[in-house]
Symmetry: C2
């Protein structure tokens, strides 16, 4: 396969289908910031499509030299063709084909500060992307996808991560495998549910933990629920049913950060 | 104006323009859940467009009787025409025209537990909507829009609120007016910025407070900055620049909730 075919229009458009992406084990990453983050974090970049007219001048030059340095096959196109390939509202003139990177559940005892989020299904890919961005911001280790549904390499998810997808371990596993791993590795599994009685702040996260997130509509599945050592709720103090799933994940992840890394000395006001 | 004209296709499509919405002081609310929430929370509903084929049977009947009860002018259309009017991915067959509701800054001393968010500009209307949903969940009082830019009645914002927009006080003000109100009412104004040194958890929010949010790209404006008594940051522990603005607002608002409403007894682990 020459770079021309590998990076041809038909093929890149075909990669919008999850089945095609998964069969090839690749994903499309679009935009200058994302491309730079992919390169910096050591993602396996298989090829690039670049429209120089759309790239900012100095940034485009930096990216180009970086692509050359890494010997990435580049196909140059005009702005019009780039716009056909792009899903962005304001196409920036660069997209990369990267290899999907999946890691197995780490063997042996989990590190003391390990923090994971587990999902089975998240309805809106953009929400999942925002969760991943927050995971990285919170210093978490990775995302555990239980079963086949969640797709972190959906382009809308990748966009929502703001590039953070390259800084996480992504795991695909089954309920059974996860259950046995959590027991073996002594990972504390906490679910969140609107129906729980326990406040999310009243458990201790100062141990390896996996926060189990349900989907926007139905919450935790029964199988997810069974994996949890505890189930907690984020209190709702007004006439809404729930928080947005990415906001809920953020509030919860930052409670873990707050417990593990309190601000300097006695500066934090204790209620 | 007869309901036919008032609810005609041209007019409703014209309301997609902010200038038209603002000139008439109205907004469009779409979807069964949103319509019901608007009716329940006492919004001034000026008219409705209903496509019975698209509405679920029992829910449609409940909504219809509620609309009749409130003497709301209703225009019935077929599914095809409704789809022309709708901005929803899965049109549910009901949209309402509601009156925009704005309130002045409350006079006199602020209530002890008052909590506001202040914005000047939020780039993505969906993000602003998610902030409003979280505001209601956190039991906050309202949103203060400083200057003309932020538009909570943008349809993408309204959608992001999941109906919560009707449960908040919405204020439009200027920097000068807000500054004098905050001093007079002893409202503690805290900004958030990636460049701040102080951790967001190390200030006390157990007093009337306004959390000042910057925009996704540039953060706080200089004028916003000047309004702040303190500026704090949410710590970032991994290789991302920032949190999504709605996630940041959620983490911050729930720190306020945590300080004001600690979970029962000593259940909360103190670091």
């Amino acid at each position: 396969v020459t770079p021309g075919e590998w990076l041809g229009q038909q093929r890149i458009l075909a990669l919008r289908e999850r089945s095609v992406r998964d069969a090839e084990g690749v994903a499309v990453v679009e935009g200058g910031r994302f491309a730079m983050r992919a390169l910096q974090s050591g993602a396996a970049v298989l090829g690039a499509v670049v429209a120089r007219e759309l790239l900012g001048k100095s940034f485009g030059a930096r990216l180009s030299s970086r692509l050359a340095l890494e010997r990435v096959p580049v196909r140059r196109v005009g702005a019009a063709e780039y716009r056909v390939l792009s899903l962005a509202a304001e196409p920036q003139g660069i997209l990369l084909i990267v290899r999907q990177r999946w890691t197995p559940l780490p063997e042996g005892v989990s590190r003391r500060r390990d923090l994971w989020v587990g999902v089975e299904r998240v309805h809106a890919p953009g929400n999942l992307g925002t969760v991943l961005r927050t995971l990285v911001a919170a210093g978490a280790r990775g995302l555990v996808c239980i079963g086949p549904d969640a797709d972190p390499y959906d382009s809308r998810c990748v966009r929502g991560t703001m590039g953070a997808i390259f800084d996480l371990e992504l795991v695909r596993t089954t309920h059974a495998e996860l259950s046995s791993w959590c027991r073996r590795s002594r990972v504390f599994v906490v679910g969140s549910s609107a129906h729980a009685l326990r406040d999310y702040r009243s458990v201790s996260y100062r141990r390896p933990a996996l926060l189990m997130l349900g989907c926007e509509r139905g919450g935790l599945s029964e199988a997810q629920h069974e994996l949890c050592d505890k189930v907690v709720k984020i209190p709702i103090r007004g006439p809404v049913d729930s928080l947005n799933v990415a906001v809920a994940a953020g509030v919860w992840l930052y409670e873990v950060v707050a417990q593990r890394h309190p601000p300097a000395r006695s500066a934090r006001r204790i209620p």
